[in-house]
């Protein structure tokens, strides 16, 4: 197992390097650079001002040299300096990452727990009204754009009902501590986490249902039934466990897109995470910050995928850690 993990880490480093090089050039294909953006924001600028900015950000150097400087920095765990935010990128990301992790992991947990539960129920009661209701609801959440769900939930729960705060991570100026602070953050977390969670829940529901229905028909389930095992035990130990493999695979893939989903949600709910940082960096052509967020997100995807492979083994002991 250790050699498996080691190999995956080495491969991961190469993947990260490829991501950095590709994105480095991709970002620069887009028209405009940070100097153009900041000159615009300054409200008055001359060519000298723009040139000063370009020199300050080393944008006047040849591209290969810029890439070399960047990769050299990353190798020594230095993600560079954010042009616009005037801060080291690693510091900016470190400040924002906890908020994103709190949001995406909560959303991930919500989607998995609800998705598997509803999927199991739908499979158990396949063909009944309960199955139809679950399947249709899942489709509805899947087909509705995340930003629309976010805006509508703000309208309902913040504007009309006044139950939940509409933006931010905590109540600014309230200075809560201890349990009151936890409750405050939780209240702010509900809408953004549910917005992302419900979208992904829909796919897990459908995947679990389909997979369970398929496993249900297999011979070992019939054997278990013939042995006289109770239905609950058959569903839980034999059907669900075997049906979970595709769900785990999907969850591994989704772990990366959760950060992508968080871009929209963090923007609408003013959640101070790295999704929003990414969005702002893109609009401001803050190259270092953009690349830094890509590096961190890619690393997260690689880690999640490694964890997924390890979970495979736990779910199904027949799988070996073959490289």
């Amino acid at each position: 197992m250790l050699s498996f993990v080691a190999q995956r880490i080495v491969k991961g480093v190469f993947v990260l390097l490829a991501i950095i090089v590709m994105n480095f050039f991709l970002i620069r294909i887009a028209p405009g650079d940070p100097a153009a953006v900041m000159a615009g924001e300054a409200g008055a600028s001359d060519a000298q001002f723009v040139q000063q900015l370009r020199e300050k950000f080393s944008l006047d150097k040849p591209l290969p040299e810029q890439l070399f400087i960047y990769v050299k920095g990353v190798a020594s765990l230095d993600l560079g300096f954010s042009f616009r935010q005037q801060m080291p990128v690693s510091k900016l990301i470190a400040e924002r990452l906890p908020a994103t992790l709190l949001l995406t992991l909560t959303a991930f947990a919500i989607s998995l727990i609800l998705g598997i539960t509803f999927g199991t129920l739908a499979a158990r009661f396949a063909g009944t009204w309960a199955d139809t209701a679950i399947t249709v609801s899942a489709l509805l959440f899947y087909a509705t754009p995340i930003f629309w769900v976010a805006l509508m939930s703000i309208l309902l729960f913040s504007v009309y009902l006044g139950w939940l705060p509409s933006f931010g991570y905590e109540t600014v100026g309230a200075n809560y501590s201890g349990l009151a602070h936890v409750k405050d953050v939780a209240l702010h977390l509900i809408m953004p986490a549910m917005t992302i969670g419900l979208f992904f829940m829909a796919t897990y529901t459908r995947m679990t249902r389909a997979s369970m229905l398929e496993v249900k028909r297999l011979d070992f389930v019939k054997t278990a039934r013939a042995k006289g095992l109770r239905d609950n035990i058959i569903q839980r130990r034999h059907v669900l466990r075997n049906a979970l493999l595709p769900v785990v695979t999907l969850a591994g893939v989704h772990s990366g897109t959760l950060v992508g989903g968080a871009v929209l949600t963090e923007t609408v709910f003013a959640w101070p995470g790295i999704g929003r940082l990414l969005y702002e960096a893109l609009l401001q052509r803050d190259y270092n910050l953009l690349l830094g967020v890509f590096v961190v997100c890619s690393a997260m995807v690689l880690i999640f995928n490694l964890v997924t492979d390890l979970v495979y083994r736990l779910v199904d002991p027949r799988i070996e850690f073959a490289s």
């Binding site: 001359d46 933006f167 100026g173």
Partner: protein
Amino acid sequence: MLKKFVLALALSGVSTMALAQEPKIGGTINAVIQPEPPGLMLALVQNGPTQMVSGNIYEGLLRYSKTLEPQPGLAESWTISPDAKTYTFKLKQGVTWHDGKPFTAADVLFSIETLKVTHARARNNLVQLDKVEAPDDYTVVFTLKQPFGPFIGIFEVGSMPIIPKHIYEGTDVKTNPANNTPIGTGPFMFKEWKKGSFIQLVKNPNYHVKGKPYIDGIYWQIIPDAAARSVAYETGKVDVLPGGSIENFDVPRVSKLPNTCVTGDGWEFFSPMAWMWLNNRSPVLANKKVRQAIMYAVDREFAKDVIWNGLGKVATGPSSSAIKFYTDNVPKYPYDPAKAKALLKEAGYKGEKVRLMPLPYGETWSRWGEAVKQNLVDVGMNIETIATDVPGSNQKNMEWDYDISFTYLYQYGDPALGVGRNYVTSAIQKGQLFNNLEGYSNPEVDKLFEEGAVATPDSKRKEIYEKVQKILVEDVPVAWQLELQFPTITNCKIKNLITTGIGVNDGFRDAWIDK
């Protein structure tokens, strides 16, 4: 409904005056700031959000009334020599920086030298400065190479912020760690900046204006989505929506919310003016008749009434009606598609493709771009819309890679500061984002703007600027659209928020909360 809204906006100033009350002490104001400022050190960063927050931390030598008359700031009095070349400022005594050190003339001298390097607009404003001296700790004397009409108008906090010499002397101003915890002389002190969430300022207990500020502090809340900003106001989480915080089409709805006050005041100094750069280098637009045809083809009243919800004013020419030496005695361009078609025919326009680039600043600007495109198509022009984001649009403008491009620029109270730069030949410079991007060049206009900047007295300047406005309106180097108005929306419990022509950017020192 629209008329009622505009009337309410116009009357808001009157009602504020009528209800003058004794200010109450205490409370905190929550205001929206968007986008998040890149930094708060005003000598280094001059974008709108930075000025809005840092106008509370730093101060300038002067402030300007809503009629743009100079008022005391860090300078308590000033005199101008009869030859209009020497400006002597007497500084206020007893002013301290937020760290307790005394403010003196040495800080002003140090700030001027720094701004010449770091502040593009200040550098331009100081172009006629020969020397600046401090005969004593509380006197600063500016000597000009020649008289410069708008000089008394360049001392507000955003144009010339005064920074502490004792913090920055002998250091690299750009990388000084103190930039993260800015120290000024202003009514509020920096307390905390939680990136992505809020910036907190607290009352300066040693502020040099006795009894002010009235409030205990300000939270600037960072909310990236325009709809979410509306909701934040609607749910009472923020009290102040500075101009431009929400989409224009949402302004009438939010303005009608209970206990909501709206004012268009506070933009007199900036006088934002929207126009379309017409690339005079383009074979089609090089023809004056085509440019005039565009002026006749675009329905600017429609844009004002529908797209801007009745806010603003149709521009008559290069100068905003709020700034000095404006005249409306210029050729007029009413909406007249028939005349536009005739002019295009006279110009020999054969349907060549013209690229139109709307300003990528949100929905209002996109809609405006679509409306103008429709107007131009209606008179037979072949228009292709270029869609891009802010960096892309800036880049294209800087490289003159457009035919028609929307913009809006500030005019800073005087044609020598905010108008001339858009039309003089010397301001044609590839690689810059503002000024004469259209490539218009007229020696007579150059000469008049040059004379206007240094002429004395004001009656002479008036004569010159009126003449140049007529020439420009006849030539149509750019297609002037609207004098923009960005209303500031507040909860009515917030009183006296805007007291100068600089508006919200001038700080909340006079504001108080009626509890």
